[in-house]
Symmetry: C2
Subunit: 222 residues, 2 copies
């Protein structure tokens, strides 16, 4: 296990809860953040029920972010900016890992369509909101449903984007804690636009093939 | 083998030649098109040298397109519009399969960056230029290098985009002729924007991991 705490902002949501559950299962010290502290505590209780020896607590987002070395942002795109503004004063010596996908569905549109983000991607928008904090993006393409099912082994590569090599190394070690996930360095943060788009592609494939857990593997590397 | 001829427009280029070679190996009747008929004939001779019983001919682009039931466009983005205009009068009862990726490299920029295409994607731009012809997009993410090496088995899914289900069925049968490629229906033509982007992602991964043949697999479907 790593020495630092992992905060999952939006940890009562589908993806966030799944990541919290899996990191807790791996023995990490997990802080679940939510805008509603009570929801965070409920999610933490669910993690404890599923993983009896879990080290997990539920807090409001800013309190969770303040204590963590790695802060994963797993919120709908429509909530991303406001939540980042609410936690940025609390981020100290932390790495921010943005998992936001700008799906049109987050503002009432289609799940297979993306919104244009002026900064280039949700990850770049995040970076602009937390100057001075290393920002990576990752986990966009991981099936929340598979994360929730502790009997399932994931089958997905985690494409990490970002401009801070040391931060990527730390994130890479975390990704490897979840069986079946493989971290890959996809390049600078601007590549996140494409990785975020892959989520819309997977949603489209899920619909066509009537499944709920498609993922992506890169062949021919490593 | 399928009854109709396959034209590869840009068949003397890297991706185009690779597809021509593999379809010829599969026993298909292949027409290699090039702006320069001599280059097309040279490429056809290379295919014949590699696949002795190949049925292949080299022609100028319009002549190749005129005889084919499936016309694959494998040209740099910077040449796409002009070449489509030069062949559109020749397209009759054909399906156009666009493999164009709007890499910034095609206009002197970076290979990992994409140009914005006003129509949404290179495939949608192609559709606007050939009204009345079914347009699909596919083959963007397939390694040309792996196609060229007949001893290599591909390891890549071919994400097909388009709005014509019957055309997709025909293309799907063709994709399956190349060992190691799996056709997947990625949705309507507008999804091509994301699939085209994946090529830039693979180029980024090739550089990071010092390989030349990364590919993509979708897990959890089919």
């Amino acid at each position: 296990m790593t020495a630092e705490k992992i905060a999952i902002i939006g940890g009562s949501g589908e993806l966030g809860y799944g990541l919290a559950l899996r990191f807790a299962q791996a023995g990490e010290n997990v802080l679940i953040g939510s805008r509603d502290e009570k929801k965070a505590q409920e999610a933490a209780a669910r993690v404890k029920a599923a993983v009896p020896n879990a080290t997990v607590a539920g807090l409001d987002n800013a309190a969770a972010a303040a204590q963590a070395g790695i802060v994963v942002l797993a919120v709908p795109f429509s909530a991303q900016a406001a939540i980042l503004k609410s936690i940025r004063a609390a981020l100290k010596n932390a790495i921010l890992v943005d998992a936001t996908v700008p799906l049109a569905a987050s503002v009432g549109g289609r799940a297979t369509r993306l919104l244009g983000v002026r900064e280039g991607s949700a990850a770049q928008a995040a970076r602009d909101l937390v100057p001075g904090i290393p920002v990576l993006s990752a986990f966009h393409n991981v099936s929340a449903e598979m994360l929730h099912d502790l009997s399932a082994t994931l089958d997905c590569d985690v494409l990490m984007c970002g401009d801070d090599a040391a931060a990527k190394e730390r994130l890479s070690a975390l990704v490897k804690l979840i069986p079946g996930l493989r971290p890959l360095d996809a390049g600078p943060l601007e590549m996140s636009r494409i990785v975020e788009g892959v989520t819309a592609l997977l949603i489209s494939l899920n619909r066509r093939y009537k499944v709920h857990h498609s993922g992506i593997r890169i062949t021919g590397v490593g």
